[in-house]
């Protein structure tokens, strides 16, 4: 009877979750073996979509370039963005001077919409009307002027900087709250036992906070592989100059809805891109979780 009550309790959420999350995933797998513009009959094509995606002379280089950018961005998330977020969270935790003001200012850009970020990026980085190039000319250093997002060697790095500026706030807050959850008794004990700041950080704080940070790291990984809005805003639908800001979701968008391809949509082909990215995300997440599980312990 008690078990029946539990089942009844979770049933509505479970049913809705199954209908709107689980079933569409299976439907995407089903759709990936069809050619379909969204209207009329669906034409079964078997694995043709996947063959086109992986072997076609025009499509495959675009897809693999986008995938390469996704993996490059993922490394940036693991090695630059996440450590930066953790470091700032630590500085806020140890209450550096003006930490409340810094906390507020770090989180402010997070509430700015992507459209506004795009507009600001144009005002700042546009080579013809942007502030930055004009400023360099004014101070007599015209040689510092650049195409910025039009320079394939700089565009990716600038995008990372903008993402850190706009999006780091949420991760910082989550890390900060994880640090705040660590018992103050342990911190007091460290001080009494004579730990210096480095020892406290590396031997106490970091090991204790990592298990709870694993979830944000996992989510960051998935978000990194699904990134769309910032490169779309900064590089346009075609992924910037020579595809330097092209990512898998943008390729999906172009081929599925035809925005970059003269309005021709192909939902089946788009579904095959989704399946490929699902496999990539699964592999990456499994490997990552195996690595992160080494830091789990019984408290």
């Amino acid at each position: 009877m008690r078990k029946k009550k539990h089942i009844l309790f979770i049933a509505p959420g479970f049913i809705l979750y199954t209908i709107f999350i689980i079933l569409p995933i299976f439907y995407v797998f089903y759709l990936s073996v069809f050619e379909w513009s969204g209207l009329g009959e669906m034409k079964f094509v078997g694995l043709e979509n996947f063959k086109t995606l992986i072997f076609n002379d025009r499509v495959a280089p675009t897809m693999f370039n986008a995938l390469k950018n996704n993996l490059k961005y993922l490394l940036c998330v693991w090695l630059i963005i996440t450590p930066f977020q953790y470091l700032i969270a630590y500085l806020l935790y140890i209450k550096i001077p003006a930490f409340k003001y810094i906390k507020f200012m770090i989180f402010m850009p997070y509430v700015i919409s992507s459209t506004i970020v795009s507009f600001f990026a144009t005002l700042l980085f546009s080579p013809n009307i942007g502030f930055l190039n004009k400023f360099f000319e004014w101070i007599g250093h015209s040689e510092w002027q650049s195409a910025w997002f039009g320079d394939p060697n700089r565009a990716f790095k600038l995008m990372i900087i903008l993402i850190i500026w706009q999006g780091a706030g949420s991760g910082i807050m989550i890390f900060y709250s994880n640090l705040m959850d660590i018992s103050q008794d342990i911190m007091e004990s460290c001080r009494i036992d004579g730990c210096n700041e480095w020892q406290r950080f590396f031997r106490i704080l970091l090991p204790l906070s990592l298990p709870s940070c694993a979830s944000i790291i996992t989510m960051s990984t998935i978000w990194a592989l699904a990134i769309f809005d910032m490169p779309f805003i900064l590089g346009g639908i075609n992924g910037g100059v020579n595809g330097c800001l092209d990512f898998a979701n943008m390729v999906f968008y172009r081929y599925t809805f035809g925005s970059g391809l003269n309005g021709k949509s192909n939902l089946g082909f788009g579904a095959s891109i989704c399946v490929l990215m699902f496999v990539v995300m699964l592999v990456v997440t499994v490997l990552q979780n195996k690595f992160l599980s080494k830091f789990e312990y019984d408290t």
């Binding site: 009329g40 080579p127 013809n128 039009g150 020579n242 021709k264």
Partner: protein, 455 residues
């Protein structure tokens, strides 16, 4: 007391949230586009001209003369861009005056138009009339293949339409839309004040135009505002430059088969790349990421000229009403000028419309001189018909600068004369790569040539 206060607060909050939801969703009266004063003036002028057109037009379609009162119900019309909203409103107003028992609502779907339209049609909630790009791309042909578009061949009076406009409406010899007689052409906008301050004049020949670019560059000003990251923005600069670079090649586009990727096209592309290396688009022009930035640069006076579509005039005026600018057609070596023009496509009728009679009446109204005048003049566009006068000075300037010569668009040849328009797809994907340096001119042209119809 406290519990009652909480309940009241919760109820008020829920009511406020519910009311805020009523603002969601597009409707004919809920627009965030902002009707500029210029557009409002154009609409008023268009309405005045329609009164004159009504007096001149004696032989309106039968449905309009006799069926105005008989047709009733409601219609929904979908447009794809907010820049057309004033015109949609003007045409609806004119239609409703003739058909007082029909209520027409419109929706502007500015983002992901085709995908939202396909979803709506698939679910049975499609509009009664909707815009497509006609036969320029595969959007309308997909709908025709799936039985979505009503065959209008014998149901709409196309007597006003020239053949160039009718080409947009046809799939397999039948017409599925009503074109607009706006001449979507390309022109060289120039900053009049900047020209006068520096003693520059509008060039009379192509060598003079090239010389002018050098002079502007030497004066420390960016000669042409251009983005390399948008194939369409590049196209609207390429076509008028090609028309000036090689008149014979451009004239030949009206009569396929003709080389679309031959020496003339390759030479012109190389010429444009050479200009890029000389800094005629700005030293860091690769960083101009989209056409909005391109138009903004010209509008704010950062560049001397911009070679773009005639429809950008309204955007330039909205961006900077104080900008004193004009337009000219880039001349050929011998001074010949001509406009590369394409009429615009209008609305198709949804064959699943619940009020097909009214939808066909609306389509017929769009095809009349009155409907066309309202649209062309409220757009402030260049007119593709001698019977409709352009309503703005800049549109008249553009129209007159072509001296009556109209050339076929290079891109339309790619679309019409390759299987399923595949050459158009290659253009869309690869044209910007030519200008950003990741694809050579020869490789691009070879790939186009490989897919064009032999005859």
């Amino acid at each position: 007391m406290r519990k009652n206060l909480q309940k009241v607060t919760a109820l008020l909050g829920a009511a406020a949230l519910t009311l805020s939801l009523t603002a969601c969703g597009g409707s004919g009266d809920n627009s965030s586009s902002g009707n500029s004063d210029a557009a409002a003036e154009n609409t008023d002028a268009a309405a005045d001209n329609v009164d004159a057109a009504e007096e001149e037009t004696a032989d309106a379609a039968d449905t309009q003369e006799s069926g105005g009162e008989d047709i009733s119900g409601s219609l929904t019309v979908w447009e794809h861009n907010y820049s057309f909203e004033p015109s949609v409103k003007a045409v609806i107003e004119g239609f409703e005056a003739k058909y007082p028992n029909v209520t027409v609502d419109y929706e502007i779907r500015d983002d992901n138009y085709y995908s939202i339209l396909a979803t709506a049609i698939q679910s049975g909630d499609g509009p009664d009339l909707f815009w497509t790009n006609g036969s320029v791309n595969t959007g309308m042909s997909d709908y025709v293949t799936n039985g979505v578009c009503e065959d209008l061949t014998d149901k709409v009076d196309y007597s006003l339409m020239p053949e160039a406009a009718m080409g947009l409406t046809r799939i397999d010899g039948k017409s599925y839309s009503v074109p607009w007689l706006t001449m979507d052409t390309r022109t060289a906008y120039y900053n009049i004040d900047m020209f006068e301050e520096n003693g520059w004049t509008v060039p009379a020949t192509f060598p003079e135009f090239e010389e002018l670019l050098g002079k502007i560059k030497d004066a420390g000003i960016i000669p042409i505002s251009l983005t390399p990251n948008d194939s369409w923005a590049l196209l609207f600069a390429f076509e008028p430059i090609l028309a000036a670079y090689d008149v014979e090649c451009t004239e030949g586009f009206a009569d396929y088969p003709t080389p679309v990727a031959g020496d003339a096209v390759r030479g012109c592309l190389n010429k444009m790349l050479e200009w890029g290396e000389k800094g005629y688009y700005g030293d860091n022009w690769l960083g101009v990421m989209d056409s909005n930035e391109q138009v903004l640069a010209f509008s704010t006076g950062a560049t001397a000229m911009m070679v773009q579509g005639s429809w950008e005039a309204s955007t330039i005026s909205e961006n900077n009403p104080d900008l004193n600018y004009g337009a000219f057609t880039i001349p050929a070596e011998d001074g010949t000028v001509g406009l590369v023009g394409t009429p615009a496509n209008g609305f198709s009728v949804n064959s699943a419309s619940e009020n097909l009679e009214a939808a066909l009446a609306f389509a017929n109204y769009c095809a009349t001189l009155e409907g066309q005048t309202l649209w062309v003049q409220s757009q402030g566009a260049v007119s593709a018909s001698e019977q409709i006068e352009a309503s703005t000075d800049i549109a008249k300037m553009i129209s007159e600068s072509g001296k009556g010569n109209i050339y076929t668009s290079w891109q339309s040849v790619l679309s019409y004369h390759s299987e399923n328009g595949v050459a158009n797809d290659i253009f869309g994907e690869d044209f910007s790569k030519v200008f950003t340096g990741s694809l050579s001119v020869d490789d691009f042209c070879d790939s186009i040539e490989a897919v064009m119809d032999p005859e």
